[in-house]
């Protein structure tokens, strides 16, 4: 049997964006158990953008229903902002809605992975390990910026951590951004000015 994968999360800055303080606290606790020692928590997209403007974040864990416009719009905004130093950071979307359409929309927004709620330590560790150990190229087109969507989960090297429910999904046509460039710019400038 292959050895379990190991990731080192010490000194990585993790940003949890979830409207629920209790769910955030649980996610924070799970990450602490993984050895993470730098975790920030915010409750809405504006605070995410403010945090990203102020410091380097290594990975974003973002709820799909993050107020006010949802985690997918936020992901698009982050990916499309050319002068954003966190533009290529890994983004993990947390969602209770695991319908294929939602997962496809998350991927098309530029998320690296989707984590189904309820969250378990094993599912979170596996996704963090996949992101760390299975690098994906980035794609830059007029309608999409983000990790290459043409990938399939084959588990860790040697197949560790693969679940029966993991499957390949077809690459969808780009649906286009939900926010225009002006909206994105407005969001970032609101964040810089500290407006909610």
């Amino acid at each position: 049997m292959a050895a379990s994968p190991t990731i080192n999360l010490r000194d990585l800055v993790v940003l949890i964006a979830d409207p629920s303080s209790y769910l955030s606290m649980i996610a924070h606790g799970i990450l602490r158990g993984f050895g993470t020692n730098k975790v920030l928590e915010v409750r809405n997209s504006i605070d995410v953008l403010q945090t990203l403007s102020a410091q380097k974040i290594d990975i974003l864990l973002c709820d799909s229903r993050l107020p006010p416009h949802g985690g997918l719009s936020l992901t698009r905004a982050i990916r499309r902002k050319v002068d954003n130093e966190n533009r290529m950071m890994p983004i993990l979307i947390m969602t209770s809605d695991t319908r294929e359409g939602t997962i496809r929309q998350s991927r098309d927004a530029g998320a690296n992975m989707v984590l189904a709620k309820p969250m378990s330590p094993a599912s979170l560790y596996d996704r963090l390990a996949w992101i760390a150990l299975t690098p994906r190229q980035f794609v830059d087109t007029p309608t999409y910026f983000g990790p290459d969507r043409r990938f399939k989960i084959e588990g860790y090297p040697k197949g560790v951590g693969r679940r029966k429910s993991d499957h390949v999904i077809e690459v969808a046509e780009e649906a286009g951004p939900a926010l225009g460039q002006d909206d994105i710019d407005n969001l970032f400038s609101a964040a810089r000015m500290g407006k909610d």
């Binding site: 379990s4 994968p5 190991t6 990731i7 080192n8 999360l9 010490r10 000194d11 990585l12 409207p19 629920s20 209790y22 769910l23 606290m25 649980i26 606790g29 799970i30 990450l31 602490r32 158990g33 993984f34 050895g35 380097k56 290594d58 990975i59 229903r65 290529m88 950071m89 890994p90 209770s96 709620k117 309820p118 969250m119 378990s120 330590p121 094993a122 979170l124 560790y125 596996d126 963090l128 390990a129 992101i131 760390a132 150990l133 690098p135 190229q137 980035f138 794609v139 830059d140 087109t141 007029p142 290459d148 951590g161």
Partner: protein
């Protein structure tokens, strides 16, 4: 569409700081990390009862504002948000009956949001069941230990899901 139709696509390799640092030696092996995370969740358990009580009270307040015929957008998102949080945290914390009932309520709210007829009794009976599932000894029970309750809720969900709203 062939690759030649998309000459403007640029594909490049990125190694983020997350990937660099996460691959360093000295990390915590998966099994140990999960064990430690479970211990952290256990530490949060004492606060769960207080939290879920507040969530249910907020849910009850939202439901009080709902009436058949009023626009569902006024309250259903909020009710759905509280229900999902109870379901999601309940699962992570291992409260199976509470999770079952909350999931059942989520199904009803989703169905109503999608156009099913709003029957307030179907929602209030779930709220009552949530309050019950929070109490001892029910909080430590599994759904199959209270088959009458779970099958009753199942019937309610099936009825709501098949009742289209008549405008």
């Amino acid at each position: 569409m062939s690759d030649t139709d998309k000459p403007e696509a640029r594909i490049f390799t990125v190694e983020t700081r997350f990937q660099k640092l996460a691959r360093r030696a000295g990390g915590i092996p998966r099994d140990q990390a999960i064990e430690q995370a479970m211990a952290q969740i256990e530490e949060a358990r004492p606060g769960f009862d207080d939290w879920v009580g507040k969530e249910l009270d907020k849910l009850a307040d939202v439901i009080k504002t709902a009436r058949p015929g009023m626009p569902t957008s006024d309250w259903i998102d909020l009710a759905g948000s509280h229900s999902r949080q109870v379901r999601d945290v309940g699962t992570t914390m291992g409260f199976e009956l509470l999770t079952y009932v909350a999931d059942s309520l989520c199904e009803i709210l989703d169905a109503v949001a999608a156009g099913a007829e709003l029957n307030m009794d179907s929602i209030t009976c779930h709220l009552d069941a949530l309050y019950l599932a929070r109490q001892r000894p029910y909080c430590n029970m599994k759904p199959d230990q209270v088959p009458e309750l779970t099958s009753g809720l199942r019937r309610v969900v099936e009825h709501v899901s098949t009742s289209p709203h008549e405008a």
